[in-house]
């Protein structure tokens, strides 16, 4: 048994030799991240990729193996990495840097703001293992404040893909965005919501509507889209008219999609793997507060507290952020 993966491919070490490589093998989202960046590099886009000692956790080892000259290992110095990415971008490159969302959006909030957003440089920042996906690693590794922080940073685009296919569509759609982008992704193992064909007309900033709901519209983002769609199915089977909006772009926010709900739905339920303060629910509330005949709004997410430790799926059940929990919250709210 060896933990030294520097001399051989981390991928392909099957057979239980090291747990992390097995986990990575299952993380389709991270394969997609590396593969799509490699695809763009192959096409001649001026991409460089960096991480802060997490290339196995985010799968960027796959990119590093393919393009070692375009991969920069910063070590455990996240703030240095974000500022350096801004410097790289100023020379005409498009740097993609990734680390845990808790460190990226909180530890590096000022570097994101001052060095990438104030300067409006094309830095791509991938915050992975967001929300409570790092379950029992505890609060230091949870990111339940990142939407609140990032969406108040001017010039910054904020994206939260629901699954690997949408992550790929987002990366491709974002190539020509001039300014910085924060990608909020889970642990790379989000269940499939879309096929590539489903996303042929994907556009940043344009929410995806899954059916109209006369009784209720669930507005979800990122990891909560899949369980919200599952919850909607259950609620429909009980005779309710329920639609789901996938709000994959948190900024610029698709205010029109939310305002258009007025008069067309009985209530709105926002669902996010984030503190109920400052994130998706707040963004929807801001729009509805300025909308005539606004429907009733209910916000659902992580309450304003630090989550207990536990496996992620157990935490989703604890906070009623799995399909059954979301359906139960909807029933309670609708009465």
């Amino acid at each position: 048994m060896t933990a030294d993966l520097s001399t051989e491919s981390a991928i392909g070490q099957r057979g239980g030799s090291w747990q992390l490589t097995q986990l990575l093998d299952q993380a389709a989202g991270f394969h997609v991240l590396s593969d799509t960046l490699a695809e763009l590099t192959e096409q001649g886009h001026p991409i460089v990729v960096g991480t802060a000692d997490l290339k196995y956790s985010n799968g960027l080892v796959l990119y590093a193996e393919k393009y070692p000259d375009r991969f920069i290992q910063f070590g455990i110095s996240e703030q240095n990495m974000i500022s350096a990415a801004a410097g790289l971008a100023s020379t005409g490159l498009q740097p993609w840097v990734a680390t845990f969302a808790s460190f990226l959006a909180l530890l590096c909030a000022e570097q994101m703001r001052t060095d990438t957003a104030y300067t409006n440089l094309p830095v791509r920042m991938v915050g992975h293992h967001t929300g409570v996906t790092l379950g029992f690693y505890g609060t230091s590794h949870h990111a339940t404040e990142d939407l609140s922080i990032t969406r108040s940073i001017a010039n910054l685009t904020v994206l939260a893909p629901a699954d690997p296919a949408q992550l790929r569509a987002m990366i491709l759609a974002s190539v020509d965005v001039q300014g910085p982008i924060y990608f909020r992704i889970g642990r790379g193992r989000d269940p499939q919501v879309y096929t590539r064909d489903d996303l042929s007309d994907f556009a940043l900033g344009k929410a995806i509507t899954h059916g109209q709901g006369r009784d209720l519209t669930i507005v979800a983002t990122g990891s909560m889209v899949h369980p919200s769609l599952e919850a909607a199915k259950v609620l429909r089977s009980e005779g309710r008219s329920v639609g789901v909006i996938d709000m994959h772009t948190i900024k610029p926010f698709d205010s029109e999609a939310v305002a258009a709900l007025a008069g067309n739905t009985g209530a709105v339920l926002t669902v996010e793997e984030h503190n109920v303060i400052g994130g998706l629910g707040a963004a929807v509330a801001e729009v509805l507060a300025e909308t005539v005949n606004s429907p009733r709004l209910f916000r659902h997410g992580i309450p304003d507290e630090y989550a207990p430790v536990g496996p992620p799926t157990h935490l989703y059940a604890h906070y009623r952020l799995d399909a059954a929990g979301i359906a139960a919250v909807a029933r309670e709210r609708l009465g």
């Binding site: 920069i72 703030q79 240095n80 990415a85 410097g87 790289l88 100023s90 020379t91 060095d115 300067t119």
Partner: protein, 283 residues
């Protein structure tokens, strides 16, 4: 090793001294518009600015975005008031813009904004960031069609920022040789002597331990500065390089040199006249 270089010509010495004086007198003029500013911080690096802009940096007049230019970043962004007049002198921005320094809508603030000021290679103001930014630029030069060097002017108070040392570690680890840091070692930050606030010494040993080639120089001696920076520029480099420039905060104005409180301040009419008289007599 510092290689022996041809001595600096008399004309060049006169030019560099004149431009250092220009930095100081323009700083006084601009701060008077704002009614507060970083006199002493700009005065301590006036010779460093002069030598970089008029001898060392590879620049093209009127072409602030020339891709192959050497970059100059200010870790100590609060010295920008001393840099702006030089950017105008290089034809990067209109001289008239200086006359409205810090007034509503003017591009020139106390800290530099690269999106508004041609010739500012990166925005600054939050201490500790720009050595990392410079590291990124220096690595970026590897992918650029023409090579360039990246100079980062750091404050000595700024050395207390942890991010400086993150960048220092990474620069030596990655073997970045086109990154040259200059520490304006003027001994003071806002609250007093740096070594009373958060001791920096032995500063040279710290940089050496982080894998950098370290030089020390009198930061007001234009001949010594020019010779050293030329030798670095033209010499063979195997590491990132740091120059610890020993300077005097408020250099050029006697009462600012002796009273530390001039990190940030404003001169009334009589004091300003006295200061200008003293500065004019410098050269």
């Amino acid at each position: 090793m510092v290689q022996v270089q041809p001595s600096v010509s008399e004309e060049k010495i006169a030019l560099l001294k004149d431009r250092a004086k220009f930095v100081r007198t323009e700083t006084v003029r601009l701060v008077d518009i704002a009614k507060t500013g970083h006199y002493a911080s700009a005065f301590s690096c006036a010779e460093i600015f002069a030598v970089l802009y008029y001898d060392i940096l590879n620049l093209r007049e009127g072409e602030p975005d020339w891709p192959a230019r050497d970059r100059l970043l200010l870790g100590k962004g609060h010295a920008a008031v001393g840099q702006y007049p030089l950017l105008a002198d290089w034809g990067f921005l209109d001289k008239e813009v200086l006359d409205e320094y810090t007034r509503l809508g003017n591009p020139l603030g106390d800290h530099p904004d690269m999106t508004k000021v041609p010739g500012v290679d990166f925005s600054s103001g939050s201490l500790g960031h720009n050595l990392s930014v410079g590291l990124g630029m220096a690595i970026g030069a590897k992918y650029a069609p023409q090579p360039f060097d990246v100079y980062v002017l750091l404050g000595d108070g700024e050395q207390a920022e942890g991010q400086v040392w993150e960048a220092a570690m990474a620069a030596s680890h990655h073997g970045v040789t086109n990154l040259i840091a200059i520490v304006d070692r003027n001994q003071y930050s806002l609250d007093g002597r740096t070594d009373d606030i958060n001791a920096l010494e032995p500063l040279a040993d710290k940089w050496t331990a982080f894998g950098w080639e370290v030089h020390e120089v009198d930061g007001h001696d234009v001949i010594a500065l020019t010779e050293l920076l030329r030798s670095i520029k033209n010499g063979e480099r195997t590491k990132p390089v740091v120059v610890i420039a020993h300077t005097i905060k408020g250099k050029g104005v006697s009462f600012m040199e002796s009273e530390f409180g001039w990190h940030l301040g404003w001169l009334d009419e009589q004091d300003e006249a006295d200061v200008m008289k003293e500065l004019e007599g410098l050269a």
